[in-house]
Symmetry: C2
Subunit: 400 residues, 2 copies
């Protein structure tokens, strides 16, 4: 949706990846505009707005719903959340006569949307209760560096004081954050999402301690023949010492979970490996990638966190067009393992975060990472890749 | 050098990565224009054109020399090889009055140079004895597809008949390949390189069966306190069932070997893991990446080769600017392991080959690869990455 709102994808409708004909071709009966009202696990039936459907096995993929902060004024006109196609369309048409656009929340969606508004020549203001942006993804120094870049790009931040009230009569006139009144005639709530579990809960399916549907590695819920996948489930994190679950809320996790649930639901056998929440995004011409845990979460998860910040060049110095690339690498002194990485730069961030994610999924020590062979050609990557140099730097720090 | 000849790097001299001052700063005594004439291992001395140098430990990094084919005419003026800065300068000045440029050899250097000549508006002709280009890197189908692209880009190929003679009097007038006379007023010999081992051999250092200096994983030669690194050594390949060595001849391998040799030579401890020859290049706007073995070499090395060719999109279909990406994946039926991958496309090839190389260095089955988490954002990578889809396709083929 942010890409459609920025105008990069021509029409919001283009975001529908699979046309109905594909389902027909695949012999899948698709029932649109059919609301599921109740799951009856004992009768193996679902009740819907268009009648009953029996099942042998059932997959719940109810996704998530935006979190609406409990502050006065969220019900006003021109206060939006971002989830479905319709939200995107409403926001686009609302932009036509908007002047002051405020985003509440500096997570991934909040920032992607702020950049989309900027692309459309607004000077969006972002309000975040934490004192830094992308707090659950990035370490403090990386977060600060990204913020500086976005400020230069024309985005205005109000950090450290959560939004307390949306002001105005019927229409929005401003947002109160701390003691400050921030002018607004349109507000986007980007305060995260929470799993949509109401059907599962009513059916007596067990939830996890984060409020998502509890599943095993085969994506089975606590009830026979009922599977679940996507934003509505809790997934096992690949790094936390004990079996700590995490709400991944990433499209890449959802599709992998869906595939595992689908295979098992029809009698096949597949398991989901623990996830690392590999994340990549582009904000105002900068690629930001992250995988594993940031330092803060690493500490909370009981790791002996040791981290470095490496600033290098995307290319060998003789080659024109080299760009700065910044890598944060986080290791665990006890095991010697790499537990997290964050990369930021104008180019070639995605490939590096993908490569680090791949080896982290196999489990890798910082020492092993520093010794790995990389792919060198002057126009793309230096002889000693920044990954190698960052890993060496972290290795030295860890052995001190 | 190809980048300098194409004009992408402004001056050939710019290719010198480390200035002399850096060596002084690091307390390294650098002796340029000093030819080593002999190594005296018993006396722990080297004799040079500028006198004797004693050593406690010695690292041989004598590199490689271009292979000159044994055909008549290679001694003529305007027949070049490509190795040092001087070669680059000679070729550039020779281009000023050249018209018909012929490259002998369709390996990486030959093709990179042909593309460089094309950038300078020549219509280079490439002669190759094998019936395909990049024969040691790519499978036949990938090779053919790349050739078609280069032909469209204006490069002319003469495949299947090796060059038999370089024609002309003092100056080059043509090259005889099979029965065909190919007009030429300048010829580049790009027939590969061979390890420069003359000093090592004279000193009594053991060579491997491929003619390179034999070293162990600490880069030690057969003689005490003598190490070797780079193009002059044989490296252990990470995939061949037994300890089969390989001549890597890649800059990325050389720097890693140099680092291991250096650490051990001063009393530290480092080992080189077996290499996979991860390769990336750019030819006429296409990125080509490869890692591990191609099907042919896989068969020769005793693997039960099973391969697929996957053609996908670099981005999700709704996103503008998606490009074709072709992946060849090669597995071993016996072990289920991935033993090779080749990728070709306009963009985002490097990151994928790096990621595959990273997990192959840890050892990975095709099934594991298909299940790995990838990094998704619509503008960079689809929800199901082409790597995932290719691995799934190979997995199905292998289980048939």
């Amino acid at each position: 949706l942010p890409f459609a709102i920025a105008g990069k994808v021509p029409r919001v409708k283009d975001l529908i990846v699979y046309p109905h004909s594909l389902y027909r071709m695949s012999d899948i009966e698709l029932h649109l505009e059919t609301t599921v009202e109740k799951i009856l696990p004992k009768k193996k039936k679902v009740l819907t707005s268009k009648g009953e459907f029996g099942y042998d096995s059932l997959i719940i993929a109810s996704g998530s719903v935006p979190i609406i902060p409990s502050i006065p004024g969220v019900e006003k006109d021109r206060v939006y959340t971002l989830k479905g196609i319709e939200d995107g369309e409403k926001i686009i048409s609302s932009l036509e006569d908007a002047k002051d656009v405020v985003v509440i929340g500096a997570g991934l969606i909040g920032l992607e949307m702020a950049c989309a508004f900027r692309k459309r020549s607004f000077r969006p203001k972002v309000i975040e209760g934490e004192n830094r942006i992308l707090p659950s993804l990035l370490d403090e120094d990386m977060s600060k560096e990204l913020k500086n870049h976005l400020v230069q790009g024309g985005i205005i931040f109000h950090l450290g004081s959560p939004a307390k009230e949306i002001l105005g009569n019927k229409n929005v006139e401003g947002v109160l954050a701390g003691d400050e009144e921030i002018r607004a005639d349109m507000v986007l709530l980007a305060c995260g999402v929470k799993p949509d579990v109401h059907l599962a809960e009513e059916a007596g399916i067990e939830l996890g301690n984060l409020g998502g549907i509890k599943v095993n590695e085969r994506m089975q819920t606590s009830l026979d023949e009922i599977y679940a996948a996507g934003d509505c489930v809790e997934s096992l994190h690949g790094l936390t010492a004990e079996s700590i679950s995490s709400m991944s809320m990433l499209g890449s996790t959802a599709v992998r979970e869906g595939r595992v649930a689908g295979i098992n639901a029809v009698g096949g056998s597949a398991t989901l490996s623990p996830i690392l929440n590999t994340t990549i995004t582009e904000l105002a011409g900068i690629e930001i990638g992250a995988v594993g845990l940031n330092s803060e979460v690493g500490l909370q998860s009981g790791f002996e966190v040791c981290s470095i910040r490496f600033e290098g060049s995307s290319l060998d110095p003789f080659f024109p067009g080299s760009e700065k690339i910044v890598i944060k690498m986080i290791g665990d002194r006890r095991s010697g393992k790499l537990i997290g990485a964050q990369i930021m730069g104008k180019e070639r961030v995605w490939g590096r975060i993908l490569a680090i994610s791949f080896v982290m999924q196999k489990g890798i020590t910082v020492e092993e990472l520093a010794a790995l062979e990389t792919a060198y050609v002057p126009s793309i990557s230096p002889t000693f890749d920044p990954i190698t140099l960052a890993a060496e730097m972290l290795l030295r720090r860890m052995s001190q």
